[in-house]
């Protein structure tokens, strides 16, 4: 019963955040200067422009216009582009590349960051620890578009072992798909690797000073066992929260990276829609991005509960 109640609260929160985010975006978009009807028909008479504004819902107040968009969304109408075409087919093709990019990035980032963080914590103050910290700090201070261009130039062009840009869906060949995803994923993964490593290191150093670690040591447990079972596990909750929070950053980062590596994902589409002032499409894209963000966070919340029973009990 409590679980059902908890789920209900969770879903209500998700819905509220989604509504709030999309409503705010709809207000902000309406504040953009210029008249969209003129973009469509620059030589239209005032009557034609008024008719066009009516069709687009631009003559309605904020709530009415938002309701029009929302009710259409619930009916499966995700809107249209002012310059032609429907948003839904574009969404269908844009979502998979972005999800793949973010998913692969998280896997790579965690795969690299966890062993690095554990080792750095274990060997704190050593040359390895200092080297790892300095390198990661330096790399994370370079903007990801800079890293992207450098990787594309060196690995894609100079060495030529991987294609410098492009995208192919899995259906067109698994090998080609992964070859094209290596550079953008590496580019996007550098910042989270740095963050996760440093965060995990700090958490683990703190945990290593806990009394239960001393107790475990006094019991004669091996360093490996203490590190992985008694120190890493409680330290992971912060890492997982950070991973969930970084989803927003990854989506933002993907926007630039997708353009550099010519990946036709949500970032590319959002940038294009902003540039062309496709306000209906922007609203829909933002709704989906918010949905991803909230979904990822909910999943992580659930996983934290699995990993750390203390938080699970607290929630229950």
């Amino acid at each position: 019963m409590k679980k059902a109640q908890s789920l209900l609260i969770r879903f209500s929160q998700v819905a509220l955040v989604l509504l709030g985010a999309t409503f705010l975006v709809s207000i902000l978009i309406r504040q953009l200067p210029g008249d969209v009807s003129l973009l469509i028909n620059p030589v239209a008479s005032e009557a034609e422009r008024a008719s066009l504004r009516h069709e687009l819902g631009l003559d309605r107040n904020y709530f009415s216009a938002y309701w029009m968009w929302l009710s259409r969304m619930f009916q499966g109408d995700f809107g249209f582009f002012i310059f032609g075409g429907k948003v839904l087919p574009v969404l269908k093709t844009a979502i998979p590349p972005t999800l793949q990019l973010i998913f692969y990035t998280q896997i790579v980032a965690l795969t690299v960051a966890v062993p690095l963080g554990v080792t750095s914590a274990y060997k704190q103050g050593t040359r390895f620890d200092r080297f790892t910290s300095t390198t990661l700090f330096s790399l994370s201070s370079i903007p990801n578009f800079g890293i992207g261009l450098i990787l594309s130039l060196i690995i894609g062009v100079k060495i030529g072992i991987l294609p410098p840009s492009g995208y192919k869906p899995i259906s067109e060949g698994l090998l080609d798909h992964f070859r094209l995803m290596v550079l953008p994923v590496l580019t996007l993964a550098i910042a989270p690797i740095s963050t996760y490593t440093r965060l995990l290191r700090a958490e683990m150093i703190g945990a290593l000073r806990e009394d239960y670690v001393l107790l475990a040591l006094s019991k004669g447990l091996s360093d490996r066992r203490i590190l992985l079972r008694h120190v890493l596990r409680p330290s992971c909750t912060t890492l997982m929260t950070s991973a969930a929070l970084s989803m927003g950053g990854l989506i933002g980062g993907a926007l630039v990276i997708e353009i550099i590596f010519v990946i036709p994902g949500m970032g590319t589409q959002l940038a294009k829609a902003i540039g062309m002032r496709e306000f209906l499409a922007i609203q829909t894209y933002v709704a989906f991005i918010a949905l991803f963000y909230i979904t990822f966070n909910s999943i992580i919340d659930f996983l934290i509960g699995v990993v750390d029973p203390r938080t699970r009990n607290r929630r229950a």
């Binding site: 953009l32 200067p33 210029g34 008249d35 003129l38 973009l39 469509i40 028909n41 620059p42 030589v43 239209a44 008479s45 034609e48 008719s51 066009l52 069709e55 687009l56 249209f80 582009f81 002012i82 310059f83 032609g84 075409g85 429907k86 087919p89 574009v90 269908k92 093709t93 844009a94 261009l149 594309s152 130039l153 894609g156 062009v157 030529g160 294609p163 410098p164 840009s165 492009g166 353009i259 550099i260 590596f261 010519v262 036709p264 590319t268 589409q269 294009k272 902003i274 540039g275 062309m276 002032r277």
Partner: protein, 612 residues
Amino acid sequence: MNQSSKGRAMKRFGIAIAITLGASAIQVGTGHAASTPAPTRGGTLNVTMTDYMVGFCPNDTNSNSALMAVRQIGETLFEQRADGVVVPYLVSSASANSDFTSWRLVTRAGVTFSNGEKWNADALIINMQSSIGKLSGGGDGKTDNAKVNPAALPLPQFHGAKYGGLAPVAWSNLKAITKINETTVQFDLKRGNGGLKELLYGSGRSFMRAPAMFTPANNPGTKLTDINYLCSRQMIGTGPFKMADGGMSADKSTITLTKNDTYWRKDAKGAKLPYLDKLVFTTTKDAATRVNALKAGTTDLSWFTGASEANAILRAQKIKTLKATLSDGDFYPQLWFVENKAPFNKLSCRQAVSAAIDRATYATKRSSGLLKPMTSILGASNLGATTENFITYNAAKAAEYLKTCVGELGTTQLEFNTPWDTAPDAQKNGKELADQLAAVGIKMNVLSVETGTIITNVFASTATTGYQAVWFNVLEGPGNQYNSLFLSSTSNGYYCKGVEALLGEPACAAGASPDLYGSLNTLNISRHTDKDFDTLWFAAKGLSGAAQTAKYKEAIARWQAQVHSTPIMGVQFAVVSTSKVKGVCELKLTSGGTGRCASNSGVSLAGVYKTK
């Protein structure tokens, strides 16, 4: 000589003969190899462009690089030779009466659209009717229009959503278009125009579309925002490549074309064109990424603009495996002064800005020397180019003009707002100009605005643009028919008011009030009301040859004296290809001579092939 020495001599002789024969054989072989090898047929050419496609309706204004994809499907009535002369292409001839008020165009025989429809007088008329806002030839425009799009009423001529767009303004001088026979069409104009061929060429933008694209069945929409128009997603033309419905990706970033098996042109040896089987155009915004893809071989050919991608072009030129083909520097972006409000309603303020721009330094800093500074609002190859009255860089003079300007304005400083595109390189261009003006005490505020918004505000039908000056690239080429739309304060030489009067025949001439500027100044970016310039300009348009050139120069000198706009540097575009790509710009025009190779819309790929 004994036998052995005789034998050795014979042996040497034999070797010498063998060497000679061998050498000659090699020579023959080399000579053969040196002749042009037969073009390779088949294969896919991967092309990258910087713009997204918009669509294929007459009103869909595809930007420069996206036009390169469209020009492989559609063709124009005329083509431009490398020397700037406009020659017949989809028409076989064009002739005019003595005062250029009546023209007859004959459509080229043996040409069909890729869907099998014939290219003839009817097809030409329906294309023209769509351009001027009426949809069907030979009938009541309103009736036909109502069938296709009832929402267009009551102003069918001005339904700009999918048909016509700004084109009706360009065609406001057209009095009538009449079918003479199956292949001949007559154009009657209100005011004589010696450059009608050039206007129909439309700077390579006036593509002829298959009549099927205009039928009611393919245009079921009833509202301006309807999206079911065939032309929103598919282009059917007479070009070397064709496009299937669905050939454009949902996000319009990729367009796939296949060979048009019924293409009418042949190569120099009479063989069928095109050579390539397939073209794939992909939008790649970042210039460095495009160069990298070329170098890595994942792209075969790519488009660049010198205005903001000069460094990428220069980098590509240094890479041995790449070949850069540059257009002439005949694209002339300007700073247009909006004259219907302060501060640029004062001539002295416009003069101050023009004199404060160090064009040579700007060109060096912002294009690494690739682009050349301007000494006229039009480039040297243009008919109207003249240095007369052009205000070049002179800091002392600028200070003098500025003193007069602020005195007339009654302020202490000349300050104005101007929008520049949000792209980092465009913003840097704006900053460089602002810095130069600041050096003489002029404050230019660079606003970061998307080009789409700039266009909206610049071409708003209201008199006010919201900006005080606008950096805009619309003037180009050696001729002036296209430029005319943006330079003159009236699109047809008459001063009338109201949208209805624009296509009215003879409303403009008879009932016009000469002092009223209605929708006619839609394209008049500077909002000037310089009738002396208009008089000279339209007089030039009614002439030909040396007399026309002289009159154009006179008009431009007037423009430069009034400083309605001021340029900085001429812009070049580039097409960069890998060493596997051959035949770029080698195909001769049907009317003879070499065509204008690279332009803002890239290159034709009809005669291009790809080696293994």
